[in-house]
Amino acid sequence: MLVGVLALQGDWREHKLLLESLGADVLPIRRESELSQVQALVIPGGESTTMSNLAKSFGLFPALREFVNHKPTLGTCAGLIMLSDKVEGAVAGQEFVGGLDITSSRNAYGGQTYSFEADVEIAGQIERVAFIRAPRILAVGKAEVIATLDGEPVAVRQGNLLGASFHPEITGGTKLHSLFLESIS
């Protein structure tokens, strides 16, 4: 199976390495022609304003929206924001892919001073993950919560979509990516 990682900006190489360590073949995605070759997609961490800006400039939004409609997609941090139906703290004109029936709030844990590492239970497995200027999930509609921190949702699943406000890819946690790869087959 060929998995895409959106490579407009951010830590897409860390996702690529993690997916490869779990046996997947990975293609970095910057163009619609590349997106059409993959069965599933990861939207990595990075700056959501930059990703949104580039996706808009290069006309990727229609293809991305069509993709997440029916194909497995995982978003972490900025990727979670990109997959959110509602976003608080967006800049004027910032577009999103959408698909997850949640409200996320950009940088809601605070600036870098408040970034942290924590142990999070993801679908029954405890892993060390990093929250870097992370978004908060303020409201969950139809999505199912699969991880919480101090009682708050930090990862969700809805049909073919997975989203997390943290980064398992920089601490090396594999649970979220394993769930994602399982959902492909």
């Binding site: 951010g10 580039l54 703290g89 870098q112 990093a130 980064h167």
Partner: protein
């Protein structure tokens, strides 16, 4: 559940990981910061004067007014960095208290200590530092830097020094990777860096932190060249707001940084940008005016 931990090395270098493939832009007002954010910058560097003006006006260059930094933090949603003078740990303490996202201990400002750099381990806020070669980069990492940028020659619009520094650092990493364990003791001595860190770089074949390029990037093609040479991202200082059309140039440099290996995209975004900053040839600069020679 175990304790949540702030400011671990991983959390500090983690933000730099998220900036990869992006452009960090120098800004001197909140309006410029907004233009940078709208153009797709991954972060802004708040400072009082861009390097080209520091160079033109001379005098001692220091940390920015906290009011300016506060305004910029309030105006944009992307990370805000700010510069402290080399060795000026109190400026760094002030920047930390303002909750900037990254502190740049920068040779662009006038050094406050010609012997010691800041002990960066004591800070919760991560630091980025400049380097012209691998030994300098490793000494900064030893002092606690979470991100390195090659220095180039700030405020010139001449990319040649940036090219030299990124080539030097990466070629030294490749040379290190080819060495046997016993040869690394001498390599550590020559690099004036700790053996364990030198060994880690040799075995991983890369720096343990993110490496951006800075100093002289003025066009989309400059940015793309730095990415092709192996940079993780670029800083653009005077190149944007000293040009004819900052918003268009900023957006073009962002696009060229993402599509750095696609000359068609670089050609497309380079059309009709208006005048680039006038610039100064580095060779015309007398040695005492070369900022990259500050820091050791």
């Amino acid at each position: 559940m175990s304790e949540n931990s702030n400011a671990t090395p991983l959390v500090k270098s983690g933000l730099a990981e998220m900036l990869k493939g992006g452009v960090i832009m120098d800004v001197v007002t909140a309006e410029q910061a907004k233009i940078a954010e709208d153009a797709g910058a991954v972060a802004v560097m708040a400072l009082e004067r861009v390097p080209a003006d520091i160079r033109a006006q001379g005098g001692v260059a220091r940390m920015s007014d906290p009011d300016l930094i506060d305004q910029i933090i309030k105006t944009v949603s992307i990370p805000v960095m700010a510069k402290a003078r080399i060795g000026h740990f109190v400026e760094a303490q002030v920047l930390e208290s303002l909750e900037v996202d990254y502190i740049d201990e920068s040779e662009v400002l006038s050094p406050a200590d010609y012997v010691n750099h800041i002990d960066k381990w004591g800070f919760k806020t991560p630091f980025v530092c400049g380097a012209t070669n691998l030994g300098e980069a490793l000494r900064r990492i030893t002092e606690g830097a979470s991100m390195i940028r090659s220095k180039g020659e700030a405020g010139t619009g001449d990319v040649s020094e940036a090219t030299k520094h990124i080539r030097t650092i990466l070629s030294e990493v490749r040379a290190l990777a080819a060495k046997t364990d016993d040869e690394l003791y001498v390599a550590a001595k020559e690099l004036q860096a700790p053996y364990q860190l030198v060994k880690k770089v040799a075995r991983d074949g890369k720096l343990p932190v993110v490496l951006f390029v800075a100093g002289g990037v003025a066009t989309p093609a400059d940015a793309a060249m730095m990415m092709q040479l192996g940079a993780d991202g670029v800083f653009v200082g005077s190149g944007i707001f000293k040009s004819g059309n900052p918003a268009a140039r900023a957006a073009a440099i962002v696009k060229a940084t993402t599509f750095y290996d696609d000359p068609k995209v670089i050609a497309e975004v380079s059309r009709g940008l208006g005048e680039a900053m006038v610039g100064i040839n580095v060779n015309d600069l007398p040695a005492p005016h070369r900022l990259s020679e500050r820091g050791w």
